[in-house]
């Protein structure tokens, strides 16, 4: 079709060639993308601007642009970083320590299991599992209902379980497969934290570990582990088995195969999984609310605490929220680069 015969409608609605977009499509695409950019960025802009406002600027109605609409003030930043000083720094450091350590642990332990579940066949016996659940139930019953010391009830439960496995388990021949294990692990993520947080609270209380980094790190790691296993399994499944087989013929141990072949090859997957889990544990609120009070307080609690009896202190909150985004943005920058490089490397190697 020559250009001359194209009607006006065709000219704006059909692309000139396959590589380009039609003018109509272009207008449509860019307008939607810009509208959504506004939707995404405006709340952030508003937080940023509010952090420079005096209380009067907030309560007197909306002011939009610093220096033009209102005179920005650093009072909120000063209050958070100088007046509060240690009280801001502590939760900030707590958050960084807890989120990063629990993420690294969850991703590493999760990848280990994900690798094992893709490449090794497991056959746990149904009988032993039922016996185990029974033993745990007994421990719970003894500790909670009868009020026995938890050390004692735990050892009774363990002993009974060992006896059960040694004597009865050969009568139950039914076994489960890898998919059952995987499903069991994933299903733990469905459990709402509000169901498990109370017993976890009691557990850490009895161990004397409430309000410590350890308690939060272990709990965050546990709740994020299923996601790590789930996502990493898909990435490991794509790596050809031949690589592993040839390495094992050369005498490499399984652990070595995992550390030197699988982990490096799954770098993009590792990066994406790390990012997601880091964000989830950085922003976690409910578990921190139960398990920490002062020493291990994390940033989300600190933000929520700005809702004082005098009403929400918007300017302080905005400072904290803005400050909270920065480490994640930096991490996202680093990790994003890793994802791109990994894909590039994969493409080059074919």
């Amino acid at each position: 079709m020559s250009l001359a015969t194209r009607s006006l409608w065709q000219r704006i609605s059909e692309p000139k060639n396959l590589q380009s977009m039609s003018p109509l499509n272009k207008v449509f695409t860019y307008s939607i993308l810009f509208v959504w950019s506004f939707v995404v960025l405006f709340p952030l802009y508003w937080l940023f601007v509010t952090s420079f406002k005096l209380p009067i600027h907030v309560s007197d109605g909306p002011y939009y642009i610093p220096f033009i609409d209102f005179e920005p003030s650093l009072h909120a930043w000063k209050y958070i970083f100088i007046d509060l000083g240690q009280d801001t720094l502590r939760p900030y450091l707590n958050s960084i320590i807890i989120a990063s350590i629990s993420t690294v642990l969850a991703v590493f332990i999760g990848s280990m299991s994900a690798y094992a579940l893709t490449r090794i066949e497991y056959k746990p016996k149904l009988g032993s599992i039922i016996g185990f659940i029974g033993a745990v139930g007994l421990v719970v019953y003894l500790t909670v209902a009868i009020g026995m010391q938890w050390q004692l009830s735990l050892s009774i439960g363990a002993a009974l379980f060992v006896i059960f496995v040694l004597s009865f388990s050969r009568h139950f021949s039914r076994t489960l497969g890898n998919n059952d294990i995987l499903f069991w692990i994933i299903s733990q993520r469905i459990m709402p934290p509000v169901v498990s947080v109370l017993p976890i609270y009691i557990m850490f209380q009895q161990l004397g570990l409430l309000d410590t980094h350890f308690a939060l790190i272990v709990t965050y790691m546990a709740v994020n582990l299923p996601i790590a296993v789930w996502l990493m399994r898909d990435f490991f499944a794509k790596i050809p088995v031949e690589l592993e087989e040839s390495a094992m013929l050369d005498g490499a141990s399984r652990m070595r195969v995992f550390l030197t072949i699988y982990l490096p090859l799954a770098k993009p997957g590792l990066a994406a999984t790390t990012m997601l889990i880091l964000i989830l544990s950085w922003n976690e609120y409910l578990l921190a609310l139960f398990l920490s009070t002062v020493d291990a307080q994390t940033m989300p609690l600190m933000v929520a605490a700005q809702n004082a009896t005098r009403g929400p202190q918007w300017w302080y909150m905005s400072v904290l929220i803005v400050v909270m985004i920065i480490p994640v943005l930096i991490a996202a920058g680093f990790i994003g680069k890793l994802i791109n490089k990994g894909q590039l490397a994969g493409a080059v190697k074919g």
Partner: protein, 373 residues
């Protein structure tokens, strides 16, 4: 390699033989201690009444009384909601649902791959979804009032659907040859990094009708004195908008990656043959991203059931109980030292979430995975 190392027999080799167990053991142990054990303990809590006595606390076994209170007792309005009368057309829709489920089960029995677990699983799915549908019609039709169960389901189903549609649309637009792709991608990803607590406060500022940034627009329509927080449905929608603002980025990133990985040759061939963009999407793009999309939606479903930060801070569950999700309901029960009631709400949430997520996993996820392969 002139030097041949003598393999150490003994400890190292034994470790190597144990590797399969060592690889999976940490995960299993952690989950046993921090998921299964708490789950059993909280099952016990759900069946007992917590009382503070001098020098400690006392747990008294009360059987299913905590659940009874939620389903038919004093907390029924809070959990299930207030029932309304069924209208005629609602009976019609419910009947239609029941018939289609029967047809689905009948197809399953005819398929020749019937198993005991399959039958039980399908029956549970059908019964739970039917009951939830009837509950939805009963509490949402004007004369009724939804409780925390229905509000949670509203956040989950309406929220996840809206998020999926918007994320898919944005991903399709972003996958074209456009300028500034990098900028859009980075910008669209940011909301997920903001802590939900922060999002809740940010939306409270933004949605302030008299002091927020959109105040001039509201006052133009004479709405400056109007308060969305006093209207049940508006408050629910504001919570939903905040949740969507945060979670669309997640679905967007996953779907964009999937769309960019689709086979390019097929798309180009179809374009040469003059296929419209809708045909290309329906016959090439969608089948190739269906499996990834199903997994992403499943992850989102699982997380959506746990919503608490937003309603807690944005509306404090109000007006009344209008925006209270089940997790928030459970948390409020815990705060009033009704530990048994709290655990019972938690367990009910667990049950609903497991049935819906597992049904989705088995009947949608597996099917799309099979089709995509």
């Amino acid at each position: 390699m002139s030097e041949v190392k003598q393999p150490k027999v003994g400890f190292a080799q034994r470790i190597d033989q144990l590797t399969p167990q060592l690889l999976i053991l940490p995960t299993v142990l952690i989950i046993l201690f921090l998921a299964v054990y708490p789950l059993l303990l909280s099952a016990y809590l759900a069946l007992s009444r917590f009382k503070l006595v001098s020098g400690g606390f006392e747990l008294k076994y009360v059987g299913l009384r905590n659940f009874k209170k939620l389903f038919s007792g004093s907390q029924q309005y809070h959990f299930l909601g207030t029932f309304g009368e069924f209208l005629f057309w609602e009976w019609l829709i419910i009947g239609f649902f029941a018939l289609s489920f029967c047809y689905w089960l009948w197809c399953y029995f005819r398929s020749g791959t019937v198993s005991v677990i399959g039958t039980i699983g399908r029956s549970i799915t059908v019964i739970v979804i039917m009951m939830l549908t009837m509950l939805a019609f009963s509490v949402l039709n004007g004369s009724g009032y939804p409780g925390s169960l229905m509000v949670t389901l509203f956040y989950v189903f309406v929220g996840v659907s809206i998020q999926f549609v918007i994320a898919l649309g944005l991903a399709l637009l972003c996958a074209q040859k456009i300028r500034g792709k990098h900028f859009f991608r980075m910008a669209f990803f940011i909301p997920i990094m903001v802590t939900p607590v922060g999002i809740a406060y940010a939306f409270r500022m933004l949605m302030d009708m008299s002091q927020g940034p959109f105040a001039p627009i509201w006052s133009m329509f004479g709405l400056a004195e109007f308060s969305w927080a006093a209207d049940a449905w508006l408050a629910r929608w504001v919570v939903l908008i905040g949740d969507s603002w945060q979670w669309i980025p997640f679905l967007f990133m996953v779907l964009l990656a999937a769309i960019e990985n689709q086979p390019k040759e097929q798309v180009e061939a179809a374009q040469l043959d003059g296929a419209g963009s809708w045909r290309i999407f329906k016959d090439i793009t969608f089948p190739s991203i269906a499996a990834v999309a199903a997994t992403a939606v499943l992850i989102r479903l699982i997380e959506a059931f746990k919503i608490i930060d937003l309603p807690n801070i944005l509306t404090n569950g109000g007006p009344g109980i209008a925006t209270e999700s089940m997790t928030l309901h459970s948390f409020i029960a815990w705060r009033t030292q009704d530990l048994g009631g709290s655990a019972a709400v938690g367990y009910s949430l667990l049950f609903v979430a497991v049935v819906i997520c597992v049904s989705f996993f088995n009947f949608v996820g597996q099917r799309t995975a099979a089709k995509g392969a």
